[in-house]
């Protein structure tokens, strides 16, 4: 075939060939195993902050927490330290991810469009911090004329935040954007599983200053933070192993 000859074969053959090329290219640029492992490890390092000195009382008095440290919630013993940790860890995590994709793009020769993922993660971090403030204002203003659903939604979000779980939501949002950008089914499945576990632990281990549902113990909050971390680490390990498998 001369270089300028038209496409040979039937249209179906051509489409099949292009589809195979597209799948190979996608597989070559998938690199989400590192962000999964990275955020899994960052979550694992945070786990000791979720251990309480003693079994918390059924009604927990919220602490005063600096605005920038509010990602650590307000009922944990180490809420302030956890808040500062997550703020630094999330920013570092997204910047390291960006550096990783840039470096890998140079090595492989395929650069992934991951700016949206990094921006979503950093914007999510700022949004989560802002949301903690908004929720405080909302909760003290929605109980009267506003719909019960708004009260319920606000208090549920506050309960998630009070246990220092907002950073996991930020990670989930970032990974969901990454799954879309990478067009990766495996990462999409991991993100769905991760969010499902987040919802599950939020229901099972719900405790805040206003209501108590579920189990309570020194390690309750640790278990709630551990399960999503396990999903990230397992997803990252699986993705790393699968990428080594010959196509």
């Amino acid at each position: 075939m001369s270089p300028d000859s038209a496409v040979p074969g039937s249209p179906a053959d051509v489409l099949a060939e292009l589809d195979a090329l597209r799948r190979r290219t996608r597989a070559a640029r998938h690199a989400h195993w590192l962000p999964l492992l990275l955020f899994g490890l960052l979550g694992a390092v945070a786990l000791p902050f979720y251990v309480m000195a003693e079994t918390p009382a059924e009604m927990v008095a919220p602490q005063q927490v600096p605005i920038l440290a509010r990602l650590g919630g307000d009922v944990l013993d180490d809420a302030v330290a956890l808040g500062w940790y997550w703020l630094a860890a999330l920013i570092a995590g997204y910047l390291v991810s960006l550096a990783w994709y840039r470096w890998r793009g140079q090595q492989v020769g395929l650069q992934s469009p991951v700016r949206g993922y990094v921006l979503a993660g950093l914007a999510g971090t700022v949004a989560a911090l802002t949301l903690t403030l908004v929720l405080d204002v909302l909760y003290s203003n929605v109980s009267g004329p506003v719909h019960d659903l708004a009260v319920w939604f606000t208090s549920e979000l506050m309960a998630v935040n009070s246990r220092g779980m907002f950073p996991h939501l930020v990670i989930g949002v970032g990974l969901a954007v990454l799954a879309r950008l990478e067009r990766s089914r495996a990462l999409t499945v991991t993100v769905v599983l991760y969010v499902a576990v987040l919802v599950l632990v939020s229901v099972a281990f719900r405790v805040d200053a206003y209501a108590v549902v579920g189990l309570l113990g020194r390690f309750t909050f640790l278990v709630a933070a551990l399960l999503p971390v396990v999903v990230l680490l397992a997803g990252g390990c699986a993705a790393a192993l699968l990428r080594r498998r010959p196509a």
Partner: protein, 109 residues
């Protein structure tokens, strides 16, 4: 067939095939470039099993048509050329794929 029938009949899908795009290697270049923010020439050469001269010629055709743009850069001391698909390139690739799918549909239908 009357003139009115002829006017109402949808154009045959081959009319939508663009000579610039409807070429095996150029379709391959656009398909790969559409999957990434930008792709290095070395990757295209390996993936499409082309010689440097052949690939360069196809890239020149696509660039002249405004379907891709190339950027020169360095990785360490090594000069590298990156290729990125333009919005016109994405539209042309989509149109080509749609025409091919329509041809398949007509053949099966």
């Amino acid at each position: 067939m009357s003139d009115a029938d002829e006017a109402e009949r949808p154009p045959f899908p081959t009319n939508a095939l663009d000579d610039v795009v409807h070429q095996r290697h150029r379709l391959g270049i656009l398909t790969i470039a559409a999957e990434a923010e930008r792709v290095e020439v070395g990757y295209l050469r390996d993936a499409l099993e082309l010689t440097a001269g052949n690939l360069s010629r196809h890239l020149a055709v696509l660039e002249e048509a405004g379907l891709v743009r190339t950027e020169k850069g360095y990785h360490g001391r090594r000069a590298r050329t990156w290729v990125a698909i333009t919005p016109q390139g994405v539209a042309a690739l989509d149109a080509e794929l749609a025409a091919l799918q329509e041809l398949v549909r007509r053949r099966l239908g």
